[in-house]
């Protein structure tokens, strides 16, 4: 549980949340009609951890989240545990989970404050304490001035902050977020993402966050669960996922990855006209490497590959080149921002041997 010092000490005192670990035990899901949305899944989420389910649309992220929430039950044999408690047969209203949806799902017939108070009212928290806790939560989310507003008078970002406040004010055992930023425009998405990040760290709550956006996943997750077609492709920290992808799918899904073909013979890997020391069986290989791990060669001597620039995109801090080598697929290469290379120029490239990945 990563809690930043300073103001967070005060924050977690006031909104003390138990950091409950969650365990999924063989949780698969087959929908009536026979479609298997989720292969049996085993996963332990640590108390206070933010775990992100990442994958393309339809890969089973929402289904997994709904199994944790209690909105779907796993296929027979699957179990969901909150701490030591088996909650598999508890309906959502008795699991004490907080939910945040892409569509906000705020109650349109209630004001901002009434929305936030709803969970406390259902729990029969007394009027005075209810008012106090709602006010505190609205302040925490910078929503104090909107307390009396109707929902249709709020922007998307404000609505999602109300949804977060409504979910958190009841001190849930776990916070479940399903693509909470997807409906927002890019700029709001960034600022709300930072706010969610701050909140999750400060409250120390166990959180499960679903997204198809790898940028969000990398920024928010203590660990990322990459999913594909109802299976877990890899579980790991953002760095592990980025630098040691478990397979070609993860490699391609996270960031940009180049595929470089070469041949190994007697401990030497030949790529284009260059050669590097390499341990591995003899024969043709396909290796992966990131755009930042290919550089422009400083001289003829260290060049591995030659090619022609098919596109050059200036990104401010760097210039991203797409280079077409004599044979093989185009390579994406990051160079200095102040480069004056352009389309049609011929370049020689050097691959960093330490950064080449052999992936199944």
């Amino acid at each position: 549980m990563a809690v930043r010092p300073l103001e967070s000490a005060r924050m977690t005192d006031r909104f003390h949340l138990d950091a409950v670990p969650i365990r999924l035990d063989g949780c698969g899901k087959t929908f009536p009609g026979g479609a298997r949305a989720l292969e049996p899944l085993d996963l332990t989420i640590r108390g206070g951890e933010t775990i992100v389910f990442l994958g393309p649309s339809g890969c089973g992220k929402t289904t997994t989240l709904r199994i944790i929430a209690g909105l779907e039950s796993p296929d027979p044999g699957g179990r969901v545990l909150f701490g030591d408690e088996d909650v598999t047969d508890l309906p959502i209203e008795r699991r004490n989970v907080g939910m945040v949806f892409q569509s906000y799902a705020l109650f349109p017939n209630m004001t901002v404050a009434e929305n936030v108070a709803y969970g406390l009212k259902v729990r029969r928290v007394g009027r005075a304490e209810r008012g106090r806790r709602v006010e505190e939560m609205l302040d925490l989310m910078h929503l104090g001035e909107f307390a009396g507003r109707r929902i249709d008078q709020l922007s998307g970002g404000q609505r999602q902050r109300v949804a977060l406040a409504r979910a958190l004010v009841v001190r849930p055992r776990v916070l479940l977020l399903d693509e909470p930023l997807t409906a927002l425009d890019a700029k709001l998405r960034d600022s709300l993402r930072l706010e969610i990040d701050r909140l999750l760290r400060e409250l120390g709550i166990t959180a499960v966050y679903v997204t198809h956006d790898q940028g969000e996943a990398m920024a928010l997750g203590d660990r990322i669960v990459v999913m594909a077609k109802g299976r877990v492709a890899q579980v790991g920290t953002p760095r592990e996922i980025y630098y040691q992808p478990a397979d070609g799918f993860v490699a391609d899904f996270i960031g940009t990855m180049n595929r470089v073909g070469g041949t190994v013979r007697d401990g030497v890997l030949r790529i284009g006209r260059g050669s590097l020391p390499w341990s591995g069986p003899d024969g043709p290989v396909e290796l992966l490497t990131r755009p930042e791990d290919i550089a422009l060669a400083s001289g003829e001597a260290d060049a591995h590959l030659d090619g022609r620039i098919a596109a050059a995109v200036f990104l401010g801090d760097r210039t991203r080149l797409v280079v077409e080598p004599a044979d093989g697929p185009p390579l994406t290469v990051d160079t200095a921002g102040r480069s004056d290379l352009g389309r049609g120029d011929r370049v020689s490239l050097r691959v960093d041997p330490a950064r080449l990945l052999a992936v199944p």
Partner: protein, 296 residues
Amino acid sequence: MSACVQHGPGDLPRSAASPRAGRRRMGEPLRLAALLAPAAILFAAFFLLPLVRLIAIGAGGPQGWAAYLTTLADPGHLDSLASTLALSAGVTAVTLAVSTVAGLFLVRHRFPGHALLVALLTFPLAFPGVVIGFMVIMLAGRQGLIGTVTQALTGGKLVFAYSMAGLFLGYVYFSIPRVILTVMAAAEKLDPRLEEAARSLGASPWRVVADVILPALKPALISAGALCFATSMGAFGTAFTLATRINVLPMTIYTEFTLQANIAAAAALSVLLGLITWAALAVARSVAGTSVAAAG
């Protein structure tokens, strides 16, 4: 006048008028006037002129305008008005309750025969009041199903077709389909995430109904209920089929008009019936309007 609030067969209820139907460009008043002219002429010819004439006839008897007061003060008329209001309110309440439960059930549950059942539901929409009355007699009349069954079971024959109870049954039967269809249309548009959010906050299924589903259905229920109320206030065919002495306002108007030849009283009562029904609809529409605006 009662014809104004009676609804033709197959006439589906419409939701309350949109409050935000504002026109952006007011720069072409001439074209606007030209466009509105046909509607204005129709409105005047088929609504305004007959209405004014009706109001005038009400005051055209020997008593003049005082006829309205006399008509209103008549205990028989007041009685008829009260029972018509009570009947319509009762029909509306029962219809809304039954249709909301049934409509929600039909939207939430799929079972074999679902589509057929929904299709069958629209059947009574096409029946004129006479047929509804006929069906009530077949069910609860002297040779009716209920009479036969109760006679076999208890020895006494239960017959209630030719009374207010029979009329009540007929109106509920006639009103339920269109309200169910309205509820179903509204319920299909409910966002399931709203209910899931409420449940995640600890709300029991009943609380979800009270706090999420009913508020979301409220505008549809109000407009469907208003139409149901207006239809019951003005319907005539069923009452006429069941018994000529059922004391509801449309029957009273008919009696005054054809049997007593008291045309002024009939006209005054018609205006009254129209006004009350119109007021009920207006109130319902404004309540529905504000709650729609509040719901965004």
